[in-house]
Symmetry: C2
Subunit: 259 residues, 2 copies
Amino acid sequence: MNVFLVFAHPEPKSFNAALRDRAVDVLRECGHAVVVSDLYEMKFKAVIDHDDFPDPLNPAMLQIPLEQEAAHARGTTAADIAAEQRKLIAADLVIFQFPLWLYGLPAILKGWCERVFSSGFAHETTPSGERRWFENGGLKGRRAMLSLTCAGAETAFQPDGRHGDMDRILWPIHNALRYAGFDVLPPVVSYAVLRGGELGRANALDRLEGRLRGIETDTPIPFHSLDEYDDAHRLKAGIAPRTPGQHRGPGYLSRTPSS
Amino acid sequence: MNVFLVFAHPEPKSFNAALRDRAVDVLRECGHAVVVSDLYEMKFKAVIDHDDFPDPLNPAMLQIPLEQEAAHARGTTAADIAAEQRKLIAADLVIFQFPLWLYGLPAILKGWCERVFSSGFAHETTPSGERRWFENGGLKGRRAMLSLTCAGAETAFQPDGRHGDMDRILWPIHNALRYAGFDVLPPVVSYAVLRGGELGRANALDRLEGRLRGIETDTPIPFHSLDEYDDAHRLKAGIAPRTPGQHRGPGYLSRTPSS
């Protein structure tokens, strides 16, 4: 497999960097090719703005989807974005390694997604009206997985936990990946990384390694398919909406955390 | 009231800018004082990195919460962050005006939250072990509200909609605001802003105005209180976890969108 690892932490000595290094080592040991984008090291531009479109279709007013689509069609996508898009095209699996900050992606990674998963590349409505999104998105046929750290304990991220259900917290991110066409694998979450001590961190590294060794046969998180929706973008009669974590089975709400 | 409006859109002619302007006009007409941070115009630094801590407690390794707390205690918080924190302290109500991008905050606004809602300021564990978070967070006594635009139709953001339930999409953002101490008011969502035409946009502006005219008596979204959790950070026996949108009542799943 070709694996593309997107890394977002400012500190080279961080535990996130240790997780990245373990992932790269294990994946290469398994015979996969690995490419890494270290967003902080690259000083990746985090913010979409007028500078992304030096030759705009509409100089009077920036409409981002319009300009992204025009740039994609004309081959004038900004060089730093186009380079990341080429890595995505070449990848079978994309791994995002990051710390969960305020229940979301670090800004540099959120901005990477906004700029790289552009309209025209990752999703679009074609001139004939066809929608390229979700399982028909620009990155279909590829798999994506989040690998994240958080300061809180696993108990606090249960459905009845103080920070709320981790599956629910990650749902908008997973849905954004699905929107771009990815099959989304269950995440690897390393909890309580600041308080777990050396043993806790060693266990977290081993858990990530274990997941990566079996990743070729991992089952993606189920999403509704396009044909389950009607023309008003609602589920057809008789189809109940999925909820985050539902795929974990009926014991989900009462599951016991592993740490 | 003192109102602080945080604005995140790169285009001065955008509909988000029109919503911002209407909000400012209405709030001032109602006798409130309004301060605006236009993050793009300010070129607000979106990314936490080593540059935020020029005189670090630990030069060998950046641990962000540690450095944020030390900077806060010593009064050395970066000037651009401290200025925003002063606006928050002075505010009774904070409004965030932004486009929903990939089911989340624009990167520049996510980064503003990461840098400004810092450890030591918005949340912390005191030396005596007291947790300042959620209803005991640094910004307690203040209210916050999201006002956002999205390209999709309201039908697509219902619980059975193609993009998923808007309450669920916004839940991590709302919980981050709650974590910092805010009472969180229900959001104002302007749907289908690109396709709604002039009438749709006029209606959206009027809806925002209507909400703002009644905002002093608005009821916040309910969250679990700190005393509902046990020492393992889980809800005490017999307390069922709240779900996003639950406060809308039992008709929630079958509600008919207004547009």
